[in-house]
């Protein structure tokens, strides 16, 4: 049901763009107004969320340790799963952010012959990596639309991405892989009863939206064969705040653009913020050195004191003396 709602939502967006541009002739709105708003919302929203998180204190040092602590010399310290220095912690975070290390650990539980079994389950890790890196490549490739002249590195990425040299126009690997990656994530969500159970509209919607963006992109490139120079004219107009709506841009571009804008606007308000949140997760980004170094809690209340020894002794003085336990004050 939730998946269906999301699908309907995405279709509605597509129709909105088609109708808006073809019938209502609002190319200006869709091609200029919306993207500017979307980028602004994205940037401000993203920053706002990050600042909001960063502003709440981290009262305690609570890393989840994934390996041997640093202790005695002869005991091997697992530096990257149980870091104590900022550098080790940085490496832990790097592996987490760039290699999805925790997901790599994933196992799958099953009940077999009266036993619980644990099988390695790296599919989620693999397809998430595929998806995220394809996304990154695609974003970098698209940067050529916003630079004049185009920086060399973007050209390299394009070359690498299209290295398979399949068809004309050249097929990009990332286009294919992103669809494969997202399709897997979606299929997994629909297929696995447990996941279906926890999935909300807000879980399906971004997946479907990204699929739609991917497909509309592919459509533009291979079927509509849109005029890239015209599009670049539009995008350059946007970045230089000199907006123009060139003629003969295929409507499929507006569909693509609307979907992308939706994603940008949706991003800061949604779980997609995990992209920023991961950097601030206290269980991962802190060193396990709280026995070595002082960690300050800004709201630590100095008025909370233990039940005092004096009160304790007052309570039990006689039996203590009788039992021959030393006391501070004689009876």
């Amino acid at each position: 049901m939730n998946a269906l709602y999301s699908l309907v939502l995405v279709f509605a967006l597509v129709l909105l763009a088609l109708f808006g541009v073809e019938t209502a002739h609002m190319a200006k709105l869709f091609g200029i107004g919306l993207p500017l708003v979307a980028v602004a919302v994205f940037l401000v929203g993203f920053a706002y969320r990050m600042i909001k998180w960063a502003k709440s204190p981290v009262p305690f040092c609570i890393p989840t340790t994934g390996g041997q602590q640093k202790s005695l010399d002869f005991i091997h310290h697992n530096k990257f799963d149980n870091p104590v220095t900022p550098c080790q912690t940085f490496i832990r975070m790097f592996l987490e952010v760039c290699c999805f290390r925790s997901l790599f650990r994933n196992t799958k539980v099953a009940l077999k012959d009266g036993k619980v079994t644990y099988a390695s389950a790296k599919w989620l890790w693999l397809f998430s990596l595929l998806f995220h890196y394809s996304f990154l490549l695609i974003v970098i490739r698209h940067m050529r639309l916003f630079f004049e002249p185009i920086p060399a590195c973007i050209g390299w990425v394009e070359m690498l991405d299209g290295i398979m040299q399949i068809g004309t126009p050249r097929m990009y690997m990332s286009d294919l892989l992103i669809i494969v990656g997202v399709a897997f994530l979606l299929a997994r969500r629909l297929w696995d009863a447990k996941l279906r159970y926890i999935s909300l509209v807000t879980d399906y919607f971004p997946l479907l939206l990204i699929i739609a963006i991917g497909l509309s992109g592919i459509y533009m490139r291979f079927i509509a064969k849109v005029d890239v120079m015209a599009i670049k004219q539009l995008t350059m107009g946007l970045v230089t705040f000199n907006p123009v709506i060139p003629a003969n841009v295929d409507v499929s571009f507006y569909v693509h653009l609307l979907l992308v804008c939706t994603l940008l606007i949706y991003f800061p308000f949604s779980k997609l913020m995990h992209a920023g949140g991961i950097f601030l997760s206290p269980t991962r980004n802190m060193p396990n050195n709280s026995r070595i170094k002082h960690h300050e809690n800004p709201w630590n209340d100095p008025n909370i004191k233990p039940h005092s020894y004096e009160a304790y002794e007052d309570d039990f003085r006689e039996p203590m003396i009788e039992a021959g336990l030393p006391v501070d004050k004689e009876a």
């Binding site: 799963d81 650990r105 619980v116 447990k194 995990h274 026995r291 004191k305």
Partner: protein
């Protein structure tokens, strides 16, 4: 415990297919067996906690304060402002489900609300409604809901089916720690007077008498003397155990479970024998006679209050540093919270082993060393006379307690110690040990009989792993470094792997230690005859 199903029946009843109704529409089951007894009014009164009263979770009316919704809302807001962890964890979960089958309670019950992600969603759904714009507008679509009495009841049931073991956190790509969420949820429940006696009574006891069990100082001394007598009977040596004495170098603090119950007392005897053997200048304290800190399961403030005794007593007695016994959550508190809450303890010195001269730089700030670290260092320097053959009747495995494993990383020290005192040692399967260890299912104050079936279900992964080494290697003893484990693992092993006993690491050390001037030993610390030595 009467209607506890047989192990194989229970196993067969596990079904991982969620019900057809959505989780928000699946009512919470508040029938007995699903909850621990609520806290007694007098305990709450003593501690100054809100809404003390007589009530039962099976009743329809939980006698909540009139403005309980406000209380929860305000409490929630306050904690969002105080803890980045809570804020981030409420926001960034992508419901990828990587954590879903990592929780022992889910593995053993199949109840979807025991999937860590859904456990946290119980709270997130309210967060969305109360604190996010989208949640306010698009209720069901974004998975948000209003805080009703049923929701609160659901919180109570499921946040008391989480042992705060953090296994889920290890597998989450963002490190979302459902244990942290559980801690916050329990704090909010406390604000309305919804809590359990098995936590609040120990907290109250601990505050007054110094330990969970409410053992008063003179009784504490008696118990220790009993153990001294037992040691004399076994070894022929009478040990001297200083208590509440000023001017010793070290103050030793262990969970009171080790003083009170089988098999913890054997571990305690092991500590005493070790200290005598190396001539450690130490004292025990009756005022700070508890390492375990049930405040951790109550609120940050309570944790701080109970923990404060350790430093206060070390200061009063003029000790140089603190040695800590085998305990799970005690070490989480010491490692992650103690110095922040109650430090810096400038009146203490950086711990240095008086026997080997090793300086424990890893405890430079808290000034508190774990006994496994301390003993491992002694062994490395050959300072102990050991006869591991005295443990030849034992075929051991090791259970990593969750807190030392995942909130500290104390993994190899106890293994090093064990390997020096037992010859037959076998690890359980890889996915169930070290940082991936499975909880005893009685942690975080859930070690109580009225939820025995829940505990046995949660104990399945551990029990299963234990059974596998029992079958393969004839393992008959599971060592651990946690006093709660020593209590909870016994019924668990009886249920899932009958024939396996539970012990602390230092019990086996005590067995192996050759004390100066001791007589030929005929029994181990449990007074079981030692295997005959082959001539």
């Amino acid at each position: 415990m009467a209607d506890l199903p047989k192990a194989d029946e229970l196993f067969k009843s596990i079904n991982y297919t969620p019900p057809s109704t959505g989780w928000m529409d699946t009512p919470v089951d508040c029938s007995p067996g699903n909850w621990c007894y609520p806290a007694k009014a007098d305990k709450l009164e003593y501690l100054g906690f809100p809404n003390p009263r007589q009530w039962s979770p099976a009743d329809v009316d939980w006698k909540l304060p009139e403005n309980w919704q406000d209380i929860v809302h305000q409490g929630f807001k306050e904690r969002l402002d105080k803890y980045r962890s809570l804020k981030v964890f409420m926001d960034v979960c992508v419901r990828c489900g990587a954590c879903a089958d990592k929780c022992h309670f889910f593995i053993g019950s199949g109840d979807p609300k025991n999937m860590p992600v859904l456990r946290a969603e119980l709270m997130r759904s309210v967060y969305r409604k109360d604190f996010t714009m989208a949640g306010k507008i698009l209720t069901t679509l974004t998975g948000s809901r209003v805080m009703t009495e049923d929701v609160l009841k659901e919180w109570f049931i499921y946040f008391y089916q989480c042992t705060e073991c953090r296994r889920c956190s290890l597998f989450c790509p963002y490190g979302i720690d459902t244990a942290e969420v559980t801690m916050m949820a329990r704090e909010l429940l406390h604000l309305c007077g919804v809590n359990i006696n098995w936590i609040m009574e120990p907290v109250a006891n601990c505050n007054r008498t110094g330990n969970h069990l409410g053992i008063q100082p003179h009784a504490f001394k008696d118990i220790v003397e009993f153990m001294v007598d037992d040691i004399e009977e076994i070894t022929g040596k009478k040990l001297h155990v200083p208590m509440n004495e000023k001017g010793h170098e070290v103050i030793f603090i262990t969970p009171s479970g080790d003083v009170f119950a089988d098999p913890g007392i054997y571990t305690f005897m092991g500590y005493l024998m070790l200290f005598d053997h190396i001539g450690l200048d130490y004292t025990l304290s009756t005022y700070a006679s508890e390492g375990g800190n049930f405040g951790l399961f109550t609120s940050a403030d309570m944790m701080k209050k109970l923990n404060g005794k350790m430093y206060a007593e070390a200061k009063r007695l003029g000790a140089k540093w603190i040695l800590g016994g085998e305990c799970g959550h005690m070490w989480r508190v010491i490692n992650q919270y103690m110095d922040t809450m109650n430090g810096p303890a400038d009146f203490l010195q950086v711990p240095k082993s008086p026997i080997t001269g090793t300086v424990f730089h890893s405890a430079a700030q808290t000034k508190m060393v774990h006994i496994a670290e301390f003993t491992a260092d002694l062994m490395k320097h050959n300072k102990l006379k050991l006869d591991p053959t005295r443990n030849d009747h034992i075929r051991a495995t090791f259970h990593d307690s969750c807190n030392p494993a995942r909130a500290m990383g104390l993994l190899d020290e106890p293994r090093y110690v064990l390997n020096n005192v037992v010859k037959n040692f076998h690890e359980m399967p890889e996915q169930t040990i070290r940082e991936q260890t499975f909880c005893c299912a009685g942690g975080s104050g859930l070690n109580t009989d009225e939820i025995m079936e829940i505990r046995m279900r949660g104990g399945l992964p551990r029990g299963n792993a234990l059974k596998s080494v029992q079958e393969e290697h004839d393992v008959n003893m599971m060592a651990c470094i946690c006093a709660i484990d020593r209590a909870t693992l016994i019924p668990l092993a009886d249920y899932w792997a009958p024939g396996v006993d539970i012990c602390g690491v230092h019990e086996l050390v005590g067995n192996a230690l050759i004390l100066d001037g001791e007589k030929e030993r005929e029994t181990d610390l449990r007074m079981n005859p030692l295997p005959k030595k082959e001539e």
